[in-house]
Structure formats: C-alpha cells, structure tokens
C-alpha cells in the first residue's frame, strides 16, 4: 500500500490534516456520549410497571371542605361502589398513589424493631382487597387481603397494619433465598405479617433518588383518608377505556358534587401518566438524537469541503501521476487511504476525549460509565462517515486526465 507517500504529502498539509482529525475526534466524543445518553434514557423509560397499563386510568378526586377521616372514608366507599357499578368498569380501588405518579409515601422497612439502619426503603401503597385485580398484578405466593381485613386510617395515624403484601423485589431483598409469606417485617409504626407476594409493581417515583428501591413496595390493607382527596385507580373492560373514563367522572359527580376533579389532570389514562412521567427522558433522547444527526452531517460536509480543496490544489500532481501510469483506481485509493489515516488519528484522539467527557459527566451528573460498545459503534460510524464523505471528491480526483500534467495552474 502507498502509505509512505501519503504521509509525506500530509506533512505538507499539517493544518488541514489536524483540523479534520480534530473535528472527527470531537464529533466522536460527543456522538458516543449522546448515543449513550439516548440508550440510558430509552432503557429507563422502557422499564415495566407490572400493571395492566392499556386498560387502567386514574382519577384524582379532591375534597371540598377538608372532611374528617370517617366522613372521607364513607365518601370513598360510596365512590368506589359507584365506580364498580359502571358497565365499562371491571374493577376499582382506592390508593394514595400509583406507579410513575412522581411522589407519594416512601418509608423504611426493617427486620427487627430496634434496628438502627433500615433494611430497605420502600414505596408504601394503600389498598383494599380489589387492588390486585384492578392493577392486574400477579400474586406469586400467599394470598390477597380479605374484605374484612381492610380498614381505614388517618394520614397521620401510626403505620402499623397487622398484615401486608410485598413485592417480589422487596421479598428477595429482605429474605434472600427464603419464603417471605408468614414472616414479620417492621414498618415505622410496628410489626406486620407478610401474607402475600406480588410479582412486580413499580415505585411511584422513577427519579434517580428512588432508584434504590425501584420495585420494592409494601401494600397496606387500609384506605388512607386524607383531608385533601384521594386517587381511584380504575380498570376498564378491554376496549372500553375511553367510555369508562368519561362515565367515571360523571358518576362521581352524581354521587356527590362537592369535589374537584381537575380538567387537565383529574382523569388520566395510564398512557398519559407514563408519558408525563418520562417527559424529560424522552426529551433528552430526542435532543441527543438531533444533535448527533446534525453533528455527523456537519462533519461530513467539512470533510467534503476540505478534501475538495485538496483535490483542486493537487490537480497537477494527480495529472503527473496519471501520466506516469497510475490508474484511476490508484488515485481513488490514494484519497480514500489518506482519509482513513486521518480518521484513524481522529478516532484515537476522540476515544480518549469521549472517555474523558463521560468521566466528567459521571462526576457532575447522575450518569453511568460509558460502555465500550458505544465507543466501538462510534468509531465504526465515524470511519464509515469519513470514507463516505471523501468518496465524491476522490472520484472527481480519479477523473483528472493525465493531460492536466502539461497545463499550468
């Protein structure tokens, strides 16, 4: 291969060579990190909730006039009865929160009453005996709550239910390799016996701070009576989501008009809940995607521009080479190889820079280490881009006729 003459030619164009290499290096560094951010965000927003999302919607019913706990509870039971009677509704359950809602009640779980360090953080979901069926959860051990076991409590009352259900993730954390059913866990207010384990139920927050206990939840057999209001989670019969959503709010107002159901977020289908929860992740992925595409386009354009200039400058030399017997393919290969050499230098610098940027972002932002895969993908992408960009000017160079050697500039 004709690498030596190429190198000596490049030595005469130090500035141009360096500029193309630098541009490739910077582009690689940014594209790798952007692709990595996209992958992280997409992976995050693809995490499952464990519930029957297509058929579920959520109602936020706020009370007018801050009712006392007993009064609020009576209203909640009446509301639930009204909701369950609707033809399009399969089941309904009251709760303080639901997966992806953003905030709610998180609390400590311990294995002994006097333990200083928590055994785990956990999402606390308040529920009745319809919770599992409404959300479409899969019970993998033990049993569901019985109707007579479901009570109600004031928001501030001690969190000390006699029995609870927990998620598999929490069970594995608390009792690794052992069955959880029948065991005692300690919530902030006292001991509770685990009666059932559900396969999967995601936390209410998908923010970074809650990632430690993302799928660990305790389900409490109480209706939580809050003076502000409550959520009702409703599962529509298949294909009847829209109709059920419309009927539900009407049914609640018919039951008692002294309530507020917001126009914009009072009744939300779960797909809307999901899209709101991951707005930022989706946005970042889109932005990074746009930056990548434009960046690659600009780098390609830069390579085309500079190589065209070189070809223009060297028409005479190309002519001489052709006159001395070089084929069109030789000339084409010359420029392709030249670009490959520059690109290799660029991606080497770029790989170091990409890792440096990533390490810096790990310390500044809540980010993970760049996986090597992205570096490799980025390197291949940029080498191909370079070869693709140089093709047109190189073809033009190969068509320079040998007679050019005899012309003056």
């Amino acid at each position: 291969m004709q690498i030596k003459p190429i190198l000596s030619a490049l030595r005469r164009h130090k500035a141009g060579t360096f500029l193309i290499a630098a541009q490739i290096a910077l582009t690689l560094a940014i594209v790798c990190n952007a692709l990595f951010i996209i992958q992280q965000r997409v992976a995050h927003l693809s995490e499952p909730t464990g519930i029957d999302e297509p058929n579920i919607f959520v109602i936020k019913s706020e009370w007018v006039g801050a009712p006392a706990p007993d009064q609020a509870d009576a209203q909640m039971r009446a509301d639930l009865q009204a909701l369950r009677q609707l033809p399009g509704v399969q089941d309904a359950t009251p709760s303080n929160s639901y997966p992806l809602r953003g905030d709610g009640w998180d609390d400590a779980v311990r294995l002994k009453p006097d333990q200083a360090q928590d055994s785990s953080g956990s999402t606390i979901y308040f529920a009745d005996e319809h919770f599992i069926d409404t959300l479409g959860l899969k019970l993998i051990a033990g049993r569901n709550f019985r109707a007579e076991e479901v009570g109600h409590m004031d928001m501030r009352y001690k969190l000390a239910p006699p029995l609870v259900m927990i998620t598999k993730a929490l069970a594995e954390r608390l009792f690794p390799g052992d069955t959880a059913v029948g065991k005692t866990i300690y919530l902030i207010g006292g001991p509770a016996t685990v009666v059932g384990v559900v396969e999967m139920l995601q936390a209410q927050s998908v923010e970074h701070w809650a990632s430690d206990f993302a799928y660990r939840a305790v389900i409490i057999p109480e209706r939580l009576n809050v003076s502000l209001g409550t959520f009702y989670i409703v599962r529509a019969r298949p294909g009847q989501l829209d109709a059920a959503m419309q009927a539900a709010a009407k049914a609640l107002f018919a039951q008692n008009p002294r309530r507020v159901i917001n126009d914009d977020d009072g009744v939300l289908s779960f797909s809307e809940v999901r899209s709101r929860a991951y707005e930022r992740d989706r946005g970042m992925a889109i932005l990074m995607g746009v930056i990548c595409v434009v960046l690659l386009a600009i780098t390609a354009a830069g390579i085309v521009g500079l190589t065209s200039f070189w070809v223009g400058q060297r028409r005479k030399q190309i002519g001489v080479r052709r006159a001395l017997g070089a084929t069109q393919l030789d000339v084409l290969r010359y420029f392709m190889t030249e670009n490959l050499l520059i690109s290799c230098g660029g991606v080497l610098m770029g790989a170091v820079l990409a890792i440096a940027i990533n390490l810096w972002m790990v310390t500044r932002f809540e980010m993970h280490r760049l996986s090597l895969m992205y570096l490799i993908v980025g390197v291949v992408l940029l080498l191909l881009l370079g070869q693709g960009a140089v093709l047109a000017p190189a073809l033009r160079a190969s068509r320079v006729p040998p007679v050019e050697a005899t012309r003056s500039v």
Partner: protein
Amino acid sequence: MSGMFVHNLRLGTASLRRNVLLTALMIMSIGFGVAASMVTFAVFRAVSGDPIPHKSSQLFVPLIDNRGPQYNRHGEPPSALNYVDAVALMRAHKAERQTMIYPVALSVMPDDPQRMPFKAPGYATYGDFFSMFDVPFQYGSGWGSAEDEAREPVIVISRALNQKLYGGNNSVGRRVILDDRQYRIVGVTDNWDPKPRFFDTFSGNAYADPAQIYLPFSYAIAQHIDTRGNNNCGSDGKRGDTWETWLHGECVWISPWVELSSVAQVQAYRQFLDGYAREQREAGRFNWAPNNRLRNVREWLDYQRAVPQESRISMTLAFGFLVICLVNTIGLLLAKFMRRAPEIGVRRALGASRGDIYRQFLAEAAMVGLAGGALGLLLTTIGMFGLDLVFEPQIARLAHLDASLVLLTLLVAITATVIAAFYPTWRAAQVQPAWQLKSN
C-alpha cells in the same frame, strides 16, 4: 478608513458569491452550532436566573438539624423545619423580617352553580412575606403582624383569581368562601411568579403554576389546614399520630425565610441558631452538637439543585457542538482562503501590506459570521417552538426569544467566526508575492 472597510466588505461579499458550496457549508455550520447553543442557553438562562436579584443576598433559609447524625442525610439537616422550630424562630424574632411558609390548596365554590368548584393553590405564611419578597399589589396590600397574632381569616388573592371571581374589579374588603370558611380579602397581588420559585423548592414547586392565594400561617394552623406539600419524617419514628402530636413531632414541612441585610446581622443570626440548638440539647430534645445552616437565595438554589440536570447536560453538549462547528469553519475558511493564494500574491506584489490582507479576510469572515448568525437566528426561532418536545412544559414555557438573545446570537456567530478566521487569515497573509508571481 471606513471607506476601506466598506471596500473590504464588498470584496468579501464578491468572494463569498464566487464559491457558493464552501460558503454555504460554512454558513450552515455556524448557523446550526449557534442555534443549538442559543436554544439550550435560553432554557438554562430561564431556569438558572436569579429569581429576586436585588435581594437574593439578603434573604436566607435557616435550617436546624432535628434528626442528628444517625438519621440525617450526608450530615445535612433536613431541608425544612418542623412546627416547633418554626414557631420558636418566629417568636425569637431575631431577623429584620421573617416568615414561615407551607403550601395549601383551598376549594373555591363559584357563586354560579353552573360552574364547577376548583382548587386554588397558594401558601400559608406570615405578613412579612409580602415585604420580604417584594410582592407587587394591584389592589390593597398584605396583612400585618396584628392579623398574624389574632389568627384572622384574611386573604390575599392573585390578579388571575381576582379576574376569575370578580372580573378584575377591586375586591379588597369583600368576603370569599373557601373550603367552607369565610375570608376577608385584604389585597390583590399583581402578576408575580418568580422562577424558580425559590421559597418553595422543598415541595418541588420551583416551576409550578402560579400561586393564587396567601393566608395567615397562624390561622391555617388553628384551622388544621393541611400542607399539600412534602412532609418529610425521617426514620427515627418521632412523628406523632394526631394533628397535635404531629405538630410537636419531628416531621419537617415548613419552609423558613429570614431577611438579614448586613454581614453583622448574618453573623448574629448564626449565633442565635447555634444558641437555640444548644438550648434544645440542654432540654434533652437533641443529643448532638448544633448543626445548622443559613443559606442565601443563590446558595439555597444551588443546594436544592433547582436547575434541572437536563438543562445543564444539553447546554454542555450544545457548546461542544458549537466548538466542532467552529473547527469545521476553520478548515473551510482555510480551504477558501488558500485557494486564492495567486490573487493574494498579485495583491501583495501590487503593494498591499500584510495588514491589508488581514483586514480584507477578517471582514470576509465577519460577513460569513453575520450570515451564519442570521441562519442561526432563524433556526433558534424554530428551535424555541420545538422546546416542548425536549423539556417539560413548565420548563419549556419559561424560555423565550427576546432582544438580548437575538443580539447574543448574532454576536456569538460573528465573534466566533472572526476568531475561527485568525489562523486561515494568518496563513493567507504569509503568502509571498514573488513566489506566486513566479509560478504564474
């Protein structure tokens, strides 16, 4: 001189026309680079700005560690106060002005039965709130310490709520019923919604919809009006299980603010906080050394990370993008200028000095920068409409294109291009007159 400058600009424009492809590439490169930077900067500027610039160094959040080293996070006291400490700081009255704040939402039942009830979000606070934060009033004013002490049901409503309920007329002195309680309206605020809402980051309301009501903290507590914000209890179990025991438990939910206008006052307040914590220790409530914080608005917003992470990441990457666009521009300018080596040789041979060449080519670069800036401005405008796709609506709506951003866009584009042009111009000026003439 100015005639020369115009001449150089003319030469520049003519030369730009001569090589359309390279020129277009440069303009696009600068346009995209500048637009990406400006759009992300507009968002960053909106979320990282000082929400109360003339007073941000005089308003402070005092925090008291009521958890102790075993239960606090990374040695930091919780980011709000419990009721006991809040009341103690108000009683001590050691700052020029002070207030306690917690978010509430009261139901409004419109007189017209056809209209649905709705929730009006706002804050329970003290009368000092309005003067501390310079709240502008359309009608009336805030309430005073007399109303605070007497726990009076007075209320300040926002201009928007006043518009909704009273058609924008002066409603001061009128009675309004909220959640079955009657309040006397004492003031109507003008449009006021500092972003980020520095005084309510604890409940995550930095970018929430504007507040519509303000009522006395003392009255809200007397009426058992619940917070609709965060209630952070820690895992030490001292929570309380009724309204009264909860008020005296260690859950934190109240945002405290004090106004201190001199270094001496800040120093004195720190000493007061430490003294208070020591008293609590002596009384047996804390069994750890005083661990207090006193942060002003800027320090507080930093600590609370009020600027969304996404905004920082995207701005960082967008500026990296601009750098690449500039490297690209250097390369293209180099190609463009060197292609004209013969012309430069002729001009030099005819008596043009190096300085003339510098001026001519930098003027040409400035033209490219201006064109790139114009394209950048167009793309920035388009980008502002696309912000909804990238940021949450409450963040996206904060960013806007104003005169300063337009100027900045053009300035960045031209400055960056001229800086990028230094090296290629230097190369052009090095062209030897004799050599070029010989080769021709």
